[in-house]
Subunit: 375 residues, 2 copies
């Protein structure tokens, strides 16, 4: 008897699907779910085969691939960083990603990750701040009010109880957009005229700017004892936000040290400058903040493990809500050694290119019937 | 006036689309087109930012990402290698890939690459054999009659004028399948009982087996003066096909030396064993075959540049034939700094998840009208 064909389905989640998913679940639930998936995965840090992402640089930007795997699941993200894109009406950061089965190599799930990257980056920032910021933090400065900023503001609102955000951007229209988007969020929003004004008195300082330059948006004179700095926008060689003295004055925490040494604000410091990988704090192996006056700094560049968590969360949530559709990315073969059969004009070996679940099931039933009949 | 949104379209080519494309163009035209794209790209070898592929290994397989870029276009392929997959009804090798715009990072084109990888691997083998095999070659031994074998046979038929193929596989059903698939190809097909019988008197020997073991399918006693060996199946650490003495007796040509040293049959030879990169031969900088009795060997592992060429060919051919569809992989934003707007329930900032070209154009027209009206 001939073996029945395996199911080779790739579930696809579009931008619209992810937007629908977030609207149906609610942003607070999504942030909490994603943060919990991230924590869960960081607690089994040793299970993962990790590497620094693979970057192809050009004059104005970078395109990166971020693979990671454990014994069961492989994930990768495609992501670009092109700060000048906004001038031509495009997002600076665009992304998509895939989850695959390690045992067979089947790419089982593909999702947009532009929206999801904004979510996971903010969730990761909040997960770090939960163990690094002072527990009584209520006020955050938000330097850079671009595409990622609302997500940072809301993640800190929902996950840390931040009540006031002090806003600054060199582009007042960006700040106006943030104000409009978050007007009914419950956050108290204060527009400031300078970095210094925004930062003064804040418990947490989030920098999330986009220029591909070595900037020093935050300098030592801005920093107050007890602050937590969430440095998000410095994430590429030649793209930094913090004066090196800010790092020297702080206890510095990173996602994955080999990658942050290349890409983070850490790139300006010597190779022996001490940092702590965040998973050690989450696992209770190393203390996070040790006293109220300590300055803590999360030099975040975005690591593949967060995308693994984000993809896992999106896949599970999409299944729960019945979102997404099947795409024909991989051929389904009756005989796996017979790829050539796909070129027969009457081949039934692969389903129609894009179909809803009902017709997919029907097509599979036809295929299986044929196999059984000819067996 | 508000800037009109940029077009962020990803054209998607499914398995069925690629099968249709090949059937409409004809396999001979596709092979010739793909070979010509590969040659064209190899002739500008220095234009590319190259790296060895990034592999995540597991017990039974590997998942790899293969990026490459020039100043204009970035390409990557996702591909697995799981030799045991056939036992559970799945292909050993499954793949898909993307072309992106280097200036903006937009992933403009996504295609299945399982079928396309079989095509491009065979086209690459033929491109190499055109400069390495004896010009009077008429007979090829084909060791391994699995999923890739028909493609190798036909590429050599169409591009080199091979008239007879001598077949051997440890699995007689694989050979029977090949015979059935190529019965009306015009090739003379001879089934052999052993590697030695298949190889005897052949001008070209193609090995395309799949086991993840260090095999020695071809040994020195099989080799005759003047042969060209096209070693395709040894492409991973611990997955080889040729006895090291076969390499020692040959002039060895490779795609990209740093990758082949890790993955090719070359992995069993010392780091200073001399090899020639194929682009040098294609560019006329180094001779290929220098005399009729020389044994030439193409230690092919599959390099990202061939996938760049294959994706380019598939994109151009799909445009010509009007195949494929638009997928919503990347959000389209009226204000590129406003990603958050996608979470407004009445957002028109992104098109419906999957639509044909007509409704895509209609949706865009609506969007653009709205922008103009509110400007």
């Amino acid at each position: 008897m001939i073996k029945l064909p395996q199911l080779v389905k790739t579930q696809f989640l579009s931008v619209q699907d992810v937007a629908t998913l977030i609207n149906r679940m609610g942003l607070e639930t999504v942030f909490k779910g994603m943060a919990s998936y991230i924590r869960e995965d960081y607690l089994r840090w040793q299970d993962f085969e990790k590497c620094a992402r693979v970057a192809n640089h050009s004059t104005d930007g970078v395109i990166e691939l971020m693979p990671i795997s454990d014994a069961k699941t492989y994930a990768f993200k495609y992501v670009n960083g092109h700060p000048k894109n906004t001038a031509i009406g495009l997002p600076c950061v665009m992304a998509f990603g895939v989850l695959a089965d390690v045992d067979t190599g089947i790419p089982e799930f593909m999702s947009e990750l532009t929206l999801s990257t904004a979510l996971r980056t903010a969730a990761m920032s909040a997960v770090a701040a939960q163990v690094l910021a002072r527990p009584d933090s209520k006020c955050m400065a938000l330097i850079g009010n671009g595409a990622q900023s609302e997500f940072q503001a809301l993640a800190f609102h929902y996950l840390l109880g931040i009540e006031e955000i002090r806003l600054y951007d060199t582009d007042p229209q960006a700040t106006a957009k943030l104000l409009a988007n978050l007007q009914s969020s419950g956050l108290r929003l204060t527009v400031c005229d300078s970095v210094a004004e925004a930062v003064r008195g804040a418990n947490i300082v989030t920098t999330v700017t986009a220029d591909k330059t070595n900037a020093a948006i935050l300098t030592l004179n801005h920093i107050e004892p007890g602050m937590h700095i969430n440095g998000v926008g410095g994430d590429c060689p030649g793209k930094t936000e913090l004066h090196p003295d800010v790092l020297r004055a702080s206890s510095v925490f990173v996602e994955y040290e080999p990658q942050t040494r290349i890409e983070g604000d850490l790139q300006h410091l010597p190779a022996d400058f001490a940092v702590t990988e965040l998973w050690q704090v989450l696992a209770g192996q190393t203390p996070g903040r040790s006293h109220a006056k300590e300055i803590t700094l999360f030099d975040s560049v975005g690591f593949a493990l967060q995308d693994y968590s984000a993809l896992r969360f999106m896949r599970d949530a999409a299944i729960e809500l019945g979102l997404g559709q099947v795409v024909s990315l991989i051929p389904e073969l009756v005989n796996p050694k017979d790829l050539f059969v796909l070129l027969q004009p009457d081949s039934h070996a692969t389903p129609a290119p894009l179909m809803n679940k009902t017709s997919q099931t029907a097509a599979r039933r036809t295929l299986i019937q044929e196999v059984v009949l000819t067996a």
